[in-house]
C-alpha cells in the first residue's frame, strides 16, 4: 500500500484535488485489487462535511474526527492506517490531513506502519496566499516542511505576475522541493498527473 498525504491550509482545495487524484489513480490502475484507492479523512471539527460526498463519489472512506491526526489523534492515525491496510489492502491510501495539520508529522507516523512509499503533497491557495501567510505566519510555513511537492492551487484566480510572486515566496520557504501551479477545479490534464507522480517518485 502506497500512501499519499494531502496537506495544506483550510480552503486550499485539498478535497477537490483528492477527488481528482483518487479518480486518476483508480482509472489508471492495472492491478487486480478490489480496492484501488481508500480515502482517510481527518477533520479537526466534530462533524465531517466531506465524507458523505466522498462516499457517494464511490470511494471507501474512513474518518478521524475532532482533532488533528498529526498530534491529538496521532495514535488513532496509526491504528486506522494499520486497520485500512489489513482490511482493504488497497493499492493506494490517500490521506486528507486536516487544514491545520502538519503533514510531515503524519508522514513520520505512517512510515513506521506501512512498507510502501509515503509521500506528502501540500496544496496552497494562490488567491489567498499573501493574506494567509501574513495572518498565520507559524502554521503555513510549518505545513510546507518536508513536503515532497507543493501545488499552487487556484492558479487561475491570480494574474501571471501574482502567481510568480506566490511561487517566489514559496521557493523561499520550501527548501528546493518541486512547486507546480495548477487549478484543481478544472479538468487536470494527463500530463500533469504524470509529471506529479514522477516528481515524487511514484
Amino acid at each position: 500500500m502506497n500512501v499519499v498525504i494531502l496537506g495544506g491550509f483550510l480552503g486550499s482545495g485539498k478535497t477537490t484535488f483528492l477527488l481528482r487524484l483518487a479518480r486518476y489513480l483508480t482509472e489508471n490502475s492495472d492491478s487486480s485489487s478490489e480496492y484501488k484507492v481508500v480515502v482517510l479523512e481527518n477533520e479537526v471539527g466534530d462533524i465531517s462535511i466531506d465524507d458523505g460526498f466522498l462516499s457517494s463519489s464511490g470511494f471507501q472512506t474512513r474518518n478521524l474526527f475532532s482533532g488533528c491526526a498529526c498530534c491529538t489523534l496521532a495514535g488513532e492515525l496509526g491504528a486506522t492506517v494499520r486497520d485500512i491496510d489489513s482490511t482493504y489492502s488497497p493499492d493506494w491510501l490517500v490521506v486528507e490531513a486536516s487544514g491545520v495539520a502538519y503533514p510531515e508529522k503524519m508522514k513520520q507516523i505512517i512510515e513506521t506502519i506501512v512498507s510502501g512509499q509515503v509521500r506528502t503533497i501540500v496544496l496552497t491557495d494562490a488567491f489567498r496566499w499573501k493574506r494567509l501567510l501574513r495572518g498565520l505566519q507559524m502554521v503555513i510555513p510549518m505545513q510546507l516542511e518536508g513536503a515532497d511537492i507543493v501545488l499552487v492551487n487556484k492558479a487561475d484566480k491570480v494574474s501571471a505576475e501574482g502567481l510568480e510572486e506566490v511561487m517566489e515566496s514559496l521557493r523561499s520557504l520550501c527548501d528546493g522541493c518541486p512547486i507546480l501551479p495548477m487549478s484543481a477545479k478544472d479538468d487536470v490534464p494527463e500530463e500533469f498527473w504524470e509529471e506529479l507522480l514522477s516528481r515524487i517518485d511514484l
Partner: protein, 160 residues
C-alpha cells in the same frame, strides 16, 4: 513582502505565537455547546490552535428543500461577510445538505401498496473554522443560521 502581522487570537487563555510549534501539541479547549431540544438544532464550538472550530447540525422535515439550499448559500455568504467585517480570517465555512425521501412498499395479499411521504427529511451540517473572532459570537451566528433555515418551511411540521 510586508512584515507578517501577528496571528489574531480569539481568546484570552494565552498567546499561541509564543508556543513551541515544533513540539506541535495542538491546544484544544472545550468551549461550548447548545442544543435546542424543541428544534433539534445542535451547535458547538471549541478552540484549536487559535482557531474557533464550530459546527452545527439539524434534521427537519420540509416540502421545499430547494428553498432551504438557496437560503443556506445566502446565509453562508452573510456569515463570511461578518467574519471579514470582524477582521477575522476564514479557515473554511462548509456545509452539506442531505435530502432523504422515504417511500414505503407493502404487500398483504397480491397487491403492492405504495406510499410516498409528501415531505422529505433535510439534514443540514455546517462547519466553520475561523481565526480572530470570539467563540461565543461564532456559536451564536451558527445557531441563528440554522434556526433561520428551520423557519423557512414549516408546512411539513404543522400537519404531522
Amino acid at each position: 513582502m510586508e512584515e507578517p502581522a501577528k496571528q489574531p487570537c480569539s481568546h484570552g487563555h494565552h498567546d499561541h505565537h509564543d508556543c513551541d510549534h515544533h513540539d506541535h501539541d495542538h491546544h484544544a479547549h472545550e468551549h461550548g455547546a447548545k442544543e435546542d431540544i424543541h428544534s433539534g438544532v445542535h451547535v458547538e464550538a471549541r478552540l484549536h490552535e487559535g482557531a474557533v472550530v464550530a459546527s452545527g447540525e439539524m434534521r427537519i422535515p420540509a416540502r421545499n428543500d430547494g428553498q432551504i439550499r438557496e437560503i443556506l448559500g445566502h446565509d453562508m455568504k452573510a456569515l463570511a461577510a461578518w467574519v471579514e467585517k470582524s477582521d477575522g480570517i476564514i479557515g473554511h465555512i462548509k456545509a452539506s445538505v442531505e435530502t432523504t425521501r422515504t417511500d414505503i412498499y407493502s404487500i398483504t395479499d397480491c397487491e403492492l401498496s405504495e406510499r410516498t411521504a409528501d415531505a422529505v427529511m433535510v439534514g443540514i451540517k455546517i462547519a466553520a473554522i475561523v481565526y480572530g473572532v470570539e467563540s461565543d459570537a461564532l456559536l451564536h451566528r451558527l445557531e441563528t443560521l440554522l434556526k433561520h433555515l428551520e423557519a423557512i418551511d414549516t408546512s411539513a411540521r404543522k400537519d404531522v
